[in-house]
């Protein structure tokens, strides 16, 4: 029997971490961090976990300490948000290239400036080339479920890469909503003990981590990293299947909501996907064949699978909650368009920047995107393909 609760996204992820009882959690537990280390430190103080909690002086140090602990053979994680992630930058690449399957609970928020504390995806999207697995949630339930599945994906022998478990700042992290939790022992059994094959404290196998990669080896190391990251796709699906068996909740690489016969498909990430589903239902009642494809796994990017899911639409709108200053595409828009490039009779693609710095995303604003898609289909004219939603001119 699952446990019916009402929790914020931050509380939900903290509980998942408590249930997993990891070995080491270094964190910089003040702004711009989240309530996650705060809740978790109370579990440590109350003896509910035996995790070693290390308060450090910066995010650069929290990620460094997590890397050190993970390399030593401990199951590790940290948590941050916004410019805290930016300050981890060089360490993110090190965690990935050292093939350390640690976890990062990321609450997605805007980067300064102008100074802003609210939701967008510019922190996570900026880290998309660091070699991490990136997995996104629509609500508190998915943030919890993704965290429960995270180590199983990251630690899989064919993967061994760090994983960033992302949810939307404030919109899900601070909003209290219904959730179904799993019992502690169920989560513990599902995640299992961490038994790394190679680690620095293994007496029988002295090793170095983070060694210099000369030009003779660097590219091979990167290629191996890519192979491991691509392996995460199948592992994520396998883990999701096992998770469905204990939870009844099913996950894929992405969620297809009424896309099968859809003429107009919105590709979107995070909490706004829920709002988009309400927009789709209202449009369907009016006879408009609308659908939503919600990204769950963003890195590795499931390009072929997404192309197969949307190729029969007339128009696709990719929704980017970040500005990448490419001037032509956002990160999601670029990835989806590239995925469709070799598809014959591919749908037309619009790309929207939306919801930056907490700009509210409503059923009405997302409905207007579907209306734009209908206009493109009716007139055959694409117009400007890189657009801003809900912005004052």
């Amino acid at each position: 029997m699952s446990i019916r609760e009402r929790l914020s996204g931050n509380e939900a992820v903290s509980i998942a971490i408590r249930q997993i009882n990891p070995d080491v959690f270094p964190a910089f537990p003040i702004t711009p961090s989240t309530e996650i280390p705060q809740y978790f430190s109370s579990y440590v103080a109350n003896g509910l976990v035996d995790t070693i909690f290390i308060p450090v002086e910066s995010e650069h140090s929290s990620m460094s300490a997590a890397i050190g602990a993970e390399a030593a053979g401990a199951r590790s994680l940290t948590a941050t948000s916004s410019c805290g992630l930016a300050f981890m930058w060089e360490e993110l690449y090190i965690a990935a290239s050292d093939r350390l399957p640690l976890a990062l609970a990321l609450v997605c928020r805007a980067l300064s400036g102008p100074i802003n504390i609210n939701c967008d995806h510019s922190d996570a999207m900026g880290a998309r080339d660091a070699g991490w697995i990136q997995i996104f949630a629509e609500d508190n339930q998915e943030a919890y479920d993704n965290f429960v599945q995270a180590y199983r994906i990251a630690e899989h022998p064919s993967v061994r890469l760090p994983i960033m478990v992302c949810q939307d700042g404030f919109i899900t992290s601070h909003a209290v909503q219904n959730i179904e939790l799993l019992e502690d022992d169920k989560v513990k059994n599902f995640v299992g003990q961490y038994e790394p094959e190679h680690y620095m404290l293994k007496k029988s196998e002295p090793m170095a981590v983070g060694a210099y990669g000369t030009p003779a080896f660097y590219m091979e190391a990167k290629k191996a990293q890519l192979t491991a990251l691509q392996n995460a796709k199948q592992v994520a699906l396998d883990v999701a299947k096992e998770f469905a068996a204990i939870s009844g909740r099913e996950y894929g690489l992405f969620e297809e909501y009424k896309t099968e016969d859809a003429d107009f498909i919105m590709v979107i990430i995070g909490s706004a996907a829920g709002t988009a589903k309400d927009a789709v239902d209202a449009l369907r009642e009016k006879g408009v064949k609308a659908g939503v494809l919600k990204i769950r796994l963003f890195r590795p990017f499931p390009a072929e699978e997404i192309a197969a899911a949307i190729k029969n639409a007339k128009v696709v709108a990719c929704m980017d909650r970040t500005e990448s200053f490419n001037g032509h595409n956002g990160p999601l828009g670029a990835d989806v368009r590239t995925a469709l490039f070799d598809v014959e009779k591919a749908p037309k693609v619009l790309n929207y920047v939306y919801g930056l710095g907490g700009r509210d995303v409503t059923v009405e604003s997302l409905t207007s995107v579907f209306e734009d898609m209908q206009t493109v289909a009716e007139t055959g004219e694409l117009g400007e393909t890189y657009r801003y939603l809900s912005v004052r001119e």
Partner: protein, 190 residues
């Protein structure tokens, strides 16, 4: 589509509007509903206007936007009537609940042509009488529960008592005062 009951709270930083929204989410959750309770975050300071929201539904709630067409509005601080358009988007067949000593017809001209029902409660009087201090959010919570009729009063009081006992486990002496504030508020709202 969302068929949720939607409530918008207007208060000032430090008055507990956010806490009240989260308590309303809690208490309606306990009656089996799907709920959302969330504040609008910004650079809040003590005394600055803040907004918080509730959705309450029999169906799972997927929408994650703020609320623009609320069924009910709660005004925790009546000085906000001068600076915030509190009835913006408020449905005509809904209602507004204002913390005020004034008569509702005296308040109507301040509500920018709003034609729906107005309820008032003197939350200061209730709070001082019950708690000896001014915490307007507890009386306002009782007032909105009564006005929107989301649950029977006895059920509400029973749930709140359990919740206070849990919340104030280390200082049980404040439970009675808070319960008194709720029962008084249920009678005082008009």
């Amino acid at each position: 589509m969302s068929k949720a009951l939607e409530i918008r709270w207007h208060g000032r930083g430090g008055q507990g509007a956010k806490t009240a929204a989260l308590l309303l989410a809690d208490v309606t959750f306990n009656t089996g509903k799907y709920i959302q309770g969330f504040p609008e975050y910004g650079p809040e300071r003590m005394g600055a206007p803040i907004t918080a929201y509730n959705r309450i539904s029999d169906e799972p709630i997927r929408v994650h936007s703020n609320i623009y067409y609320p069924d009910y509005v709660v005004v925790v601080d009546e000085t906000l009537l001068e600076s915030v358009d509190v009835t913006k988007g408020l449905k005509k067949d809904g209602a507004i609940v204002i913390n005020s000593t004034r008569d509702k017809e005296e308040l109507r001209p301040l509500l920018k042509g709003y034609e729906g029902r107005i309820y008032t409660i003197d939350a200061r009087k209730v709070s001082i009488a019950a708690l000896g201090k001014y915490f307007p959010n507890t009386p306002m919570l009782a007032a909105i529960v009564k006005v929107c009729g989301i649950m029977p009063e006895d059920k509400f009081l029973a749930e709140m008592e359990a919740s206070f006992k849990h919340k104030f486990a280390s200082k049980p002496e404040v439970v009675a005062g808070n319960m008194k504030a709720l029962t008084m508020a249920l009678e005082e709202v008009r």
